[in-house]
Symmetry: C2
Subunit: 360 residues, 2 copies
């Protein structure tokens, strides 16, 4: 088992990563004090795989365990689903001594985390991410929230879990497309701050694709450690944390422009990284050979759905609505090299269009 410590004063917590960890959740919770009532929030597909086993473990330790099943999919990441959780939990008399366990991908974790953050002004929760994307990204750092018709993740809180339990075995039941999507966020960590990890990724891609469990444990814990380090230094996304958004300025806009229907989050971020790598080069930050190496590695992860005929104007409009922009500026995280970023709000519209043209 690998352990990553997230240091945030009295909101500090641990991320545990191991093969088979789901079978130990009851024991782990038992060691951490008693919660008379535990709510397991999951979607029906994930609950079918892991729910009953988890319920049994927790019931065996004398907890009252109640499941709350929410619909799956980004289109259900809404206030309405959060409202359903509130009603479920309140109907079963949730109080501040209760505990929420979110079991599932990023959507489930974000929704359940936001419900936990805002029910009774905050009840403790544990993340059990079961997708690669959730394991390396959304479950770490305390961002919770839901979408709004006018933009992704527009409603939410910074709210830290008590514990994150990552069982690498859950990845074996993940559809191939979902696993591939997670790898784009993995490679991002190397690109923004860890050239050695980028190299490790390049040289171990085959083992990663085959889900070799030692390599997966190493990869996931490295990603968690990087994200934990960044979020510990900048919990509220004022400065350093923004480097995590490499690929996300274009990526989010692409998701908005296609109404979250055509790309998984990881695929949209992959396209975003490709455009923003071009942009880094066009803006004079990145040399051509490094740019080529990056694009080759990103593309070697797998095929991406085509970006078709989306116009740059529609994307720019979506970027201006993104909550990370300040006034009229669009903020980009660009690369100066592998592992080195530059944040700029000063990119000419002409360059954006050119980077977009060169990518698609």
């Amino acid at each position: 088992m690998k352990t990553v410590q997230v240091s945030l004063g009295d909101r500090s917590y641990e991320i545990l990563i191991a093969s088979g960890l789901l079978g130990q959740v009851g024991e782990l919770l038992g060691n951490r004090g008693i919660h008379p009532t535990i709510f397991v929030i999951s979607n029906s597909r994930v609950f079918e795989l892991y729910g009953e086993g988890l319920l049994r473990q927790l019931s065996d330790r004398g907890c009252q365990v109640i499941k709350s099943i929410i619909p799956d999919g980004e289109q259900h990441k809404t206030l309405k689903t959060v409202g359903q959780i509130y009603t479920d939990l309140l109907a079963h008399r949730a109080d501040r001594s209760s505990m929420v366990i979110a079991v599932g991908g990023g959507v489930t974790g974000d929704i359940a985390g936001f419900a936990a953050a805002t029910l009774l002004r905050g009840i403790p929760y544990i993340q059990v991410p079961t997708t690669l994307l959730a394991q390396v990204d959304s479950s770490v750092g305390g961002k919770t929230g839901v979408n709004h018709a006018l933009g992704k993740n527009m409603i939410g809180s910074f709210y830290q879990p008590e514990l994150v339990c990552i069982d690498t075995d859950t990845l074996s039941t993940l559809p191939a497309r979902e696993f591939q999507s997670g790898l784009y966020e993995v490679v991002k960590y190397g690109l923004i701050c860890d050239p050695k990890f980028f190299e490790f990724f390049e040289t171990h891609l085959e083992k990663i694709q085959k889900q070799d469990s030692d390599v997966l444990e190493e990869v996931i814990s490295r990603c968690c450690a990087i994200k934990a380090d960044i979020t510990s230094q900048d919990e509220k996304e004022k400065d350093l944390r923004r480097i995590l958004n490499f690929g996300h300025t274009f990526g989010h806009a692409l998701e908005v422009a296609t109404k979250y229907q055509e790309f998984t989050h990881g695929e949209a971020i992959a396209w975003g990284m490709l455009v923003e790598t071009h942009l880094s080069r066009l803006a004079g930050f990145l040399d051509e050979s490094t740019s080529k190496r990056i694009m080759q590695t990103v593309r070697s992860i797998g095929n991406l759905p085509p970006i078709g005929s989306i116009s740059i104007e529609i994307l720019v409009e979506a970027m201006k609505r993104d909550k990370k922009h300040q006034g009229d500026q669009i903020i980009f995280v660009l690369l100066k090299g592998i592992g080195t970023t530059v944040i700029t709000g000063d990119v000419q519209a002409k360059l954006l269009a050119e980077a977009w043209e060169q990518t698609r």
Copy 2:
């Protein structure tokens, strides 16, 4: 002008109390850095009184100012109204450099504060409370939130404002019943921790009722200082802050049992304080003469709507659903004397019924 400092580390802020302060909000904000866009959230009645003047002051300083009018009344303190604010603010491109100013009573402040806490995972906000209850209670301490069909304030966040501006002049436009309601929370502060302030209240009640502006400034700043002191020591309501709930265990239950239709919050809390004073005596914590003095002072504030035929069983049921209870225990803040409390989860059902009978 009086200033009360709320000390919460990097979330510290000031409460300013003065006659005529609303005319200085533009200047006060100007001294605190620039927010390109300011959203003034208010209800139509309050906006009619103070809105245009505020908008003009802020526009004069070069801010883009947008009003968001929400419906008035406890029945609109819901997620639906919060959703309306999200849509309003996002449609006008709110970003993290924007600022929310909540102008109104406790309902407006709680809703707007929760919207500010959760839009874009938190944008800065300022409270301008215009009712006595909001000035001495809900605007201080960072509790924000809305009601749920299954209970009051079940959904919310702890989220601190940047500044609280209290203009005592706004009380002159307040309906008499609302002003009276606020006085019950005022007297509560004396009862839970400040015998000198309780005495000041008793001896100055006539001037307070006549809204003598020096006395009001003194009274409001004392209440804010007490609440600020308590919340600074216990932001997340783990321990000390619970003493603020004197009168609230029964009071909240009364509101729930009458579906928030028959009593203002202050009136419900007044009844709650009367019942819980009886209870303090019946449980052996409080002597009879002090109990009489307290009830006389509470009753001297004004007439209360009758509590009629509500049964103790219905109230107990509502109390058990309150988010402050732990498991099956109902937690009470009781008095050992004027200014001294005891928190107990160990009150016999028989005593509750007796205290209720003696009160009504």
